[in-house]
């Protein structure tokens, strides 16, 4: 008899749990850093850490290639990100532009390989690391506008929302799930519309759901969610 009571309690509990989860469903936990995508072999093992990583304070000349980076702005190389839907891979000429005058690493295997491509005038067949499904319309430009221009957040932080801590990686690896629920987990947060030092928004559209964002009672800052309509992200 108790067995069955247990069973029924269990079932009712499950029913209730599923139900309450379901009701509250659209807040899947954002994936953690541990949730790394597969390691990807690129034609050249590009050291993001070396380029974008933080400087080693003990080494002002930045001479040791194993320690410390050069704090290069993400958008120095991924220059399309602020003007285009895609961040883009820099053209080979950009790599060469710097590396032809950096003699110290000129003979390392990776740089040699780089120059081989350049001499053959062949583009490097980089593999896509963050490859969204083809029916998704994601614009780097919009997100950079929103977070870097309007909210005046640091570049690496903003890029890191989706790309993780690239400055500590060599070859980039996907560290967020990039699945729909994950995107939504950020879209449904109430982000401030503008922040100090950010670009004013003028008369532009930033509200969704047919309602304008209300001023937060405490701070007075206007907050808004990200877009929620299907066509915003699906094509």
């Amino acid at each position: 008899m108790h067995r069955f009571l247990r069973l029924s309690t269990l079932l009712i509990g499950l029913f209730a749990a599923v139900g309450s989860y379901a009701v509250d469903a659209p807040q899947p936990a954002p994936m953690t850093e541990d949730d790394l995508g597969p390691a990807i072999e690129q034609p050249i093992e590009f050291p993001h850490n070396r380029h974008a990583g933080l400087r080693n304070p003990n080494d002002p000349t930045n001479s040791d290639p194993l320690k410390g980076g050069m704090e290069i702005d993400c958008m120095y190389c991924h220059t399309y990100a602020r003007r285009s839907a895609v961040a883009g891979i820099p053209p080979l000429q950009k790599c060469i532009g710097c590396h032809q005058s950096i003699a110290s690493v000129r003979e390392t295997p990776r740089i040699k390989k780089l120059f081989e491509y350049w001499d053959a005038k062949k583009a490097i067949p980089w593999k896509k690391v963050h490859d969204l499904p083809d029916f998704v319309r994601f614009s780097h430009e919009r997100h950079i506008e929103r977070f870097i221009s309007q909210l005046n957040r640091p570049v690496q932080e903003v890029c890191g929302y989706c790309h993780g801590n690239v400055k500590e990686m060599t070859v980039a690896r996907r560290s967020k799930s990039l699945a729909m629920g994950w995107c939504a987990s950020c879209h449904q947060k109430d982000h401030p519309v503008t922040a100090e030092g950010g670009k004013p928004i003028g008369n532009q559209a930033y509200w969704y759901n047919f309602q304008k964002p209300a001023a937060d009672t405490s701070g007075g800052a206007v907050k808004a969610q990200g877009p929620n309509d299907c066509w915003q992200c699906h094509k």
Partner: protein
Amino acid sequence: MMNSGFDRRDFLKVLGWSGVAIALNGCGNTSVEDGKETVVSYVETNDYMIPSISTYFNSTCAQCDAGCNITGRIREGRVLKLEGNPDSAINRGKTCGLGQAGVQHHYNPDRVREPLLRKGGQGEAITWEKAYALIAEKLNGVSGEEIAFLTGGVSGHLKVLLGNYLDSFGCKNHFVYEAIAPAVLRAANKKSYGVEMPRFNINKAKVVLSFGADFLGAWVSPVHFSQQYAQFRKGVDGQRGVLIQVESKMTLTGANADRWVVVRPGTEGILALGIINALGTASGDIAAKVRGYDRALVSKETGVPPGQIDKIAALLKLRSPSLVLAGSAAEGYAHGSQNAAAINLLNHVLGNVGKTVEAAAVVPFPQMAPATGNTAALKTLNDGLNAGKYKVLFSYAANPVFTAPGAMKFKDSLAKAGFKVAFAHYLDETAMQADLVLPLDSALEDWGTQVPEYMAEGAQINIQQPLMEKLHANTRGMGDILLALIKLRRAEEYKKFDDYYAYLRTAVLQNKGALGGGVADDDTFWNETLSKGIIKLAGSSHALSGNAATAGLSLPAPAAINAQYPLHLIPSVSASLRDGRHTNQPWLQESPDPLTTIVWDSWVEIHPKKAAELRIAEGDIVEVTGKNGSIKAQAYLFPGIHPDAISVPLGRGHEALGRYARGYGVNPFQILDAVFDKETGELALHETRVKVSKTGQRVIVVKDEGFVGGKQMGKKIAVRVSSDKVELSEEV
């Protein structure tokens, strides 16, 4: 930027890399992926090259001779779409369906990719060196008289270069052939107005009376006229323009007319004279000429009710200025020139010359002016071929094996030429007969200049430039080929030009002053020219001669009914397929004919009354028999046609031209009689008489309209209102 000396051509090479890497978008991954696809990246790039951002380059549409200026949308090195260039006076940012399909000409899977040499029944791929050597060998010792060069309409620098090449042999046999060009009209205009192609200001007219001119569909410069038409409908001084269309088979323009007047085929001229008579404003010669054309006679001969003639005359009298147009339907008879002259006379009588018929601007470089095609040239060529005059024949941008009237037996004549070289994009019927086929760059890959025949406002020279890198490595531009060939003759003179691009650039820059370059340096001017895609010129215009002579104007009475072949065959020209060179563009095949909504096939339009008489129902396969053969096609009952006529559209019925064209429909050119206009020697397209018989088969007509055809079944869907019920001037 490391390499600042980016030339437009290098840029194209850079662009090209990625074209390969892009697979079918959307059929690819459906979930987040890592490391499966390759990123599009460049070796070198230009500042304005941003992935996922389109760039736009101006060029010229080559789908017909109207010379619309277009803008190509280019992304990741591929041209995706063509739009009209808003700065163009001709098309003002607009395009027609035919123009939209230009990308399908470029990406067509059936393009010729290698030079092909006939070997038995097959073409064998050879190298360009071998091809040039072969041409040189064949031309060796052949006199200029024995060479014939057949082309479609050409203009601009290509025409100059071609002329120079022919000159190098002393050859005068340049045949410019267009199967459905308004050649009779040109001659008639020349006589009536002093110019071949004046400017027609439809937008300034309050009444347009068009005798079979399908200016909204396929006549002269349809996109330009469509815009004028829209303005004309909005009205001058708030008075909405009235369009009256007179023809035997309803064209797209006829379908848009306020009043569509059906006439007995070939009697358009008589009606024109009848209207002059009814107007009663003419005097002198003209009055004398039209005196005989009283309304009873005209009504009897044309089949137009007398009341109708009066109404038209009254309207023309009341609303001025008006515009009278003579179109291909009026010209396509043995007395076509007379018809056109009579119609043009009406413009004189109404005082439209100088108002709505104006002199067009002229490009001040006569050598670049378009060599306009006609059918008389084909007749001459055909006679010459039959006489065995030509040892070497070149053919470019013309497909006479498909478009020559069946009575001419052009295919057999062609076999009599010694060595036939075809410059071709596709293996069309003519290229199939050639000994050597040289593959051409598509219009979106090639350089060129073009001077339109119909000048919209000022004079302009159109620039054609590549919108993307070549799709196929072994195709060449026509200009490049001509340059290579002419180098074989006059090496010294042309050695400074590496390629046609260099030739073009030099030629344009030489006339920088005349082309409005002013003091700009060469590079700036050239880059600006390319970025605009149009060179607008001040241009001059020949004055119109107000010659309203009636001398020699004589119109025959309508032909008696031929007992054996009782019906007129009206080969109709559709806006999208024209003479059939674009039939292999699937968008056009699948774009329904505006009036019948039929797709992918030919049909025989027949009036329901006549059909009832012959017991023909929709979908019956009927045999249309004329003196020169017969064709079989599905019948379509069409109210907009004279009961004594049937109509079959041109353009389909290909035996070659690739997967989208071959085997769809029938080719009415095949059964055309070889009747020519008495004055100009042009082929009279509408003079073929036929009979129609049922074959007993029936098919379901593949068309867009539904089971009840064009009925609205009492629903308020497409609504019409009478002009006195609205106030257009109050609209936005």
